[in-house]
């Protein structure tokens, strides 16, 4: 009988629990959960504001999930210290928990850059947790003017969520375009136009440098009045526990494909980690929910003595605003070639290098796009498929009859 400890109670932790239990149904699992909620779908907080879901439906698993998996959850407690030598975790309450294997699934936290006068803003929120969304919901009225700092995924989903609940939304960002982490200039321009057509205002290449109560003074000197401020500049991985325990930490906690940290029997998974993006062959932080689950599951299997790797990680995002969807995956390495199709409401950009599809950006038409994603994840040589056909439409027909037989005539 072993003792497994998981720090964090997000999706990576849920993956870890399911991973452990796929190998070891006997040993004890303890989850340390800073938040008072059972694991929920964090990216759904904007859909909550939009009233497309509610806290009950936002639960990631069934109400009996922890009981079914024999898990003890310590709600409202945090880990203060990991002792890698004696293998124990010290909690904020002073208790210590011994472990045979541990998974650090501490996630990330909103990054708020120092901004003069920020303390004078009464109604200010970050947008990361369910509690953030519940507080923000209480603060807004149909008359509110909202200023969102950050035109990335979080800031724009927040804008969409608030759209029908407030009078006016302005989004600013230092970057010259929206969604700069996933879209290039052309694709971002199409998304921005669509967001503007739905009433979102933008101030790009410009951000707040100072606040005086309910007024933001922008870098170009403009003044923007608001009632409610949302800070969505970015997130930072929560790495302190592993760093203080002597583990290898860069911007995120460095983990290998088995989700091992540099410390024995200590694993890490999810938004707190830095790991290999196979489409770019570099290590990076890919704070994405699907990857968090897959890392957590991998860590769990390995913690319990099984063997698993997550060695097909790539950045990928499926995101839509006001009915216009976009799918992006992989990367655009230097020297890659681009295949493009575009019209007013749709863009397809495929990036190819060294006989591989390395990435894509698609806006408007989301049909069977996973066939493209699989080409990136599997690093399929394009010379072995009919890429001319695939460019036009993702289809198994272009993947060769042997592959098709395997998929459609067998168990995969």
């Amino acid at each position: 009988m072993k003792h497994y400890v998981i720090i964090g109670n997000g999706v990576a932790a849920a993956g870890c629990i399911e991973g452990i239990r796929s190998v070891d149904t006997e040993s004890s699992i303890t989850v340390i959960s800073a938040e008072q909620h059972p694991v929920y779908c964090r990216p759904l907080i904007s859909y909550y504001l939009e009233q497309k879901t509610d806290p009950e439906r936002m639960n990631y698993r069934t109400p009996t999930f922890y009981a079914d998996h024999g898990v003890t959850v310590l709600y409202g407690k945090t880990a203060e210290k990991i002792d890698a030598g004696t293998r124990q975790v010290t909690l904020n309450t002073g208790e210590t928990l011994p472990f045979d294997a541990l998974c650090n699934a501490t996630g990330s936290a909103p990054f708020v850059p120092p901004m003069k006068g920020l303390e004078t803003v009464r109604e200010q929120f970050t947008f990361m947790t369910l509690d953030d969304a519940l507080s923000l919901e209480k603060a807004v009225t149909p008359e509110s003017k909202v200023l969102i700092i950050g035109a990335g995924l979080i800031g724009l989903k927040c804008a969409e969520g608030l759209h029908d609940r407030v009078r006016e939304i302005t989004v600013c960002d230092l970057a010259p375009r929206v969604l700069s982490s996933i879209l290039d200039e052309t694709c971002a321009a199409m998304m921005q136009k669509h967001l503007e057509a739905n009433g979102i205002e933008f101030l790009l290449g410009n951000s707040a440098k100072e606040f005086k109560g309910n007024t933001a003074i922008m870098q170009n000197g403009d003044k923007v009045d608001f009632d409610v401020l949302v800070l969505a500049v970015g997130v930072r991985p929560n790495t302190a526990l592993i760093k203080n325990a002597g583990g290898d930490v860069n911007r995120g906690i460095r983990v290998d494909a088995a989700c091992r940290t540099s410390l024995p029997e200590i694993y890490a998974a999810g938004d707190c980690t830095e790991y290999r993006d196979i489409s770019a062959d570099t290590d990076k932080i890919m704070a994405l929910m699907p990857n968090a689950y897959m890392q957590g599951h991998t860590a769990g299997v390995n913690m319990a003595g099984g063997e698993a790797v997550f060695d097909q990680a790539i950045p990928m995002n499926s995101i839509g605003f006001f009915g216009l969807h976009c799918h992006t995956a992989g990367s655009q390495p230097e020297g890659c070639e681009m295949y493009e199709e575009a019209d007013e409401k749709h863009i397809k950009r495929l990036f190819v290098k060294d006989d591989k599809l390395t990435g894509f950006m698609l806006i408007g038409h989301m049909h069977r796009t996973g066939i493209y994603t699989a080409l990136i994840r599997n690093q399929t040589p394009l010379s072995t498929v009919d890429f001319a056909r695939l460019k036009l439409e993702p289809q198994l027909a272009a993947m060769g009859s042997a592959y098709r037989s395997k998929v459609l005539k067998g168990v995969v």
Binding site: L44, T53, Y60, M316, H327, G370, L396, A397, K409, G410
Partner: protein
Amino acid sequence: MKRIYVKEEWCLGCHLCEYNCAFANSGLTDMVKALRDKPIYPRIQVETDENGVTYAVSCRHCTDPICVKSCIAGALSKKDGVIEIDHSKCVGCLTCVLVCPYGAVVEDGSGVAQKCELCMKNSCGAPACVKGCPNGAIVYEERQAVPASD
């Protein structure tokens, strides 16, 4: 478990499976009312390869389903081997469409995701595409390993 498999040498490319699928999942009892003058959003897609060979593609009910692992809403799950979608939880983010390597999860026309659930949740109780295939090109049966051919 029983899954859907295709016999592409028998497929006529008639697309009836797509219509039967759309009808079976429409919740209506009259096929004309369900399908007439409407775009259909079937959970099975007929493809044609470069030699004119046709076959239908639907969810493989993978043993290690990446759509379930990737669902950001906890709406996809595997129950007794069948990959199901809980429509009350789906918010239409379409991450499942982005990750399914076979293109078997598709948008339903109203913005949320849908996929083959082997007609377990509709009134058919067994796959309508199989039942309605005029040439026996889609079968519903147990298979263990991956055969090289039929």
